[in-house]
Each structure stands twice: as structure tokens, then as C-alpha cells.
Amino acid sequence: MKWALLIGALCLAGCNKPESTYARNSDVKAGDIKSGYAFLQDDTKALQDDDFANPGFLWVDRGKRLFETAETGASTCSTCHGAHGMPLKGVAAHYPKVDAKTGKLLNLEAAINLCREQHQGLEPLAYESDDLLGMTAYVASLSRGEPVSVDITGPAAKYYEEGRDYFFRRKGQFNLACSQCHNEHWGEKLRGDTISQGHGNAFPAYRLEWQDFGSLHRRLRDCDTGIRAEPQDYGSETYMAVELYLAKRAEGLAMESPGVRR
């Protein structure tokens, strides 16, 4: 992979103890927490800031249309979640969240699919399909500017721990942990990229490298693949748990979806 050279250099410093399963303890100091936006080039920032030029709005528009359109025999999302029902403004900032009925951790994609199944009698939408990305982007866009804030107490605690474990666990052929890039080396260069602190507040987002819009799980799969580790499945419980850990770690950052990234 193209990261190989620089990761190789990181490894010289960090990979000489293959027996250590976890990276050393580290964090981003509370006062230093910055969105990935802060590490973008001006052109990319400008693309995110312009609600017309930002290609993510193609998906927001798609989601809004789906939200207001009835599929055969079902009521529309807007019937229940319109201005006079249970508006969804601000809710995305509190995801992932444990479903009170099943005790399962749900990210926004899963919460939308659950609603389709339980309240509309429809099949769940496929992860990473344009329709689910669009719906997620639309619901997330209703929380733009809201501070990220998640509950990690009670039934959520074990998911938070699982996510934290994944973040510090060294893996892949390069034997690197998320923390070694996003806690220990943020602000430094990895080839053409500046390593950010690895927050999820812009997702789903448009990535120029993808030439496409994608979920946070797609981004995580890229990071795992970059260190030559086996990526987890889309919508997997592990990535949901990582998402919760990342959200807690990013607490207070403004929601940006639909973000634009390199």
C-alpha cells in the first residue's frame, strides 16, 4: 500500500516489540481537541463550507427526498418525524446509543434501519448503499453544529470499553494501533496527508480520494487496511463500539456531516 514507506519509518521507532499487544497509554489533551477539518487544505475546507459545491449534499438531497416519500404501503419518515411529530433535529449528535429494548448498540445507520423495520414494516437498507448513506446524511445534517455528546454509562459502558480496546490494540502487519497515529502523531505528515486526531464528527462524508460519499465504517476500513490489518465488516458490532469510543473522545466537537475530506 502507498502508506508503506512512512509506516515503515514509524515502525522502526515503534514496532520492535511485537510481543506488546497494546500501544502505550496516550490521549489528546482536552484543550487540544480539533476536528479533522482543522487539518485540511484551504481548498478542501472551502468545499465543505459551501453548501452547493459540497458534493455531500447530493446525498443529503437524496435522503431528504426518501424521508418524505412513501414506499409501497408504508408511512413516510416525515409522517412521524416531521415538524409536528418527533423531529430528528439534534439526535444524531448523541449516536451511537444503546437501544433500550434489545440492549444493542446502534449507530445512526442502524437506528434508521430499525425504524424502517419496526415502524414501517420495510426491509433494512444495505449498508453503504446510496439510499442508506443519503438517509443518514440527511438525518445527520439536521444536527450540523450540535456538539457531539454520547452516553457511555450503564449498558453502553461495555461497548465503550470494547471500542477503547480496539483503539489501543496493535494490529496488522505493521503492528500499529489507532492511538499511535491519532493520539501520538496527529499534526504530523503521513505522505501527502496530515494525520488528524481521528474523529468521526464529519461522517458520513465525501472523500476526494474515494470520489464518493461514505460512512465512518468505510473510513475505519481504510485505516485498518492501511496498517494491513483485516478490516471489520460494515455495520459490525466492533466498529459500532469503536464509533462510540470515538464519539466520547470527540465530545464537544461540532457535528459536520456532510463533511468533505481529502
Partner: protein
């Protein structure tokens, strides 16, 4: 999906900005998939904007154009009439969208 930004009204002689974006992969034909097979080229070839039936902006696209092409340009408002945006891909399929401009 198509996104258009154009004013509904303008004064006679005013210069107005219009913007258009279409969701399209603009697959170059030079990339390969995970199995090593060439991903076939799939691009938009032509964009046209007609105002009151006359072409006022036209563009030919090539494989180097990024996905979801975005165009912005200016028109001089000279009469009330439709602004029609149309895209044609390499297979001849077309998409179009129309906005009405009222000039006072």
C-alpha cells in the same frame, strides 16, 4: 441526483450566476477492480445549458474530470423564459432539469 442553483427572478440586463451538479461516477476506464479487471469507462460526454431555447453554455467532458461534476457560470438576463440544463453520457443517455427565470 441533480442539484441546480439559479435565481427565479432577475432584472433586465442583470448578470446572474447559475450552478449545476450531477451525481455521476465519471469512471475513467483506466482503473482496475480488486480482481485486476479493468473497470469500464463510464463518463458524461456533454453538458448543455439553454436559455429561452438558445445554447448559452456548453461543455465536453473527458475522463480527467472528477466524479459528480460541478459547473458554475454566468448569464445575462434578457427575457423571461426557461433555463434548461442537460447532460448526456457516453451511451447517449440524457438527464435534464429546467428552471424558470422571470425577468422584470
Amino acid at each position: 441526483m441533480i442539484r441546480i442553483s439559479a435565481p427565479d427572478t432577475a432584472e433586465m440586463g442583470e448578470i446572474v450566476e447559475v450552478k449545476a451538479m450531477i451525481q455521476h461516477p465519471m469512471e475513467t476506464g483506466y482503473r482496475r477492480d480488486a480482481k485486476g479487471d479493468v473497470i469500464p469507462r463510464n463518463i458524461i460526454k456533454q453538458f448543455r445549458c439553454a436559455y429561452g431555447g438558445n445554447t448559452v453554455f456548453e461543455a465536453t467532458f473527458f475522463p480527467g474530470i472528477a466524479a459528480n461534476p460541478f459547473l458554475a457560470f454566468c448569464l445575462r438576463a434578457t427575457r423571461t423564459g426557461p433555463i434548461e440544463f442537460s447532460w448526456t453520457d457516453q451511451h447517449g443517455e440524457t438527464w435534464s432539469e429546467t428552471r424558470q427565470l422571470t425577468v422584470s
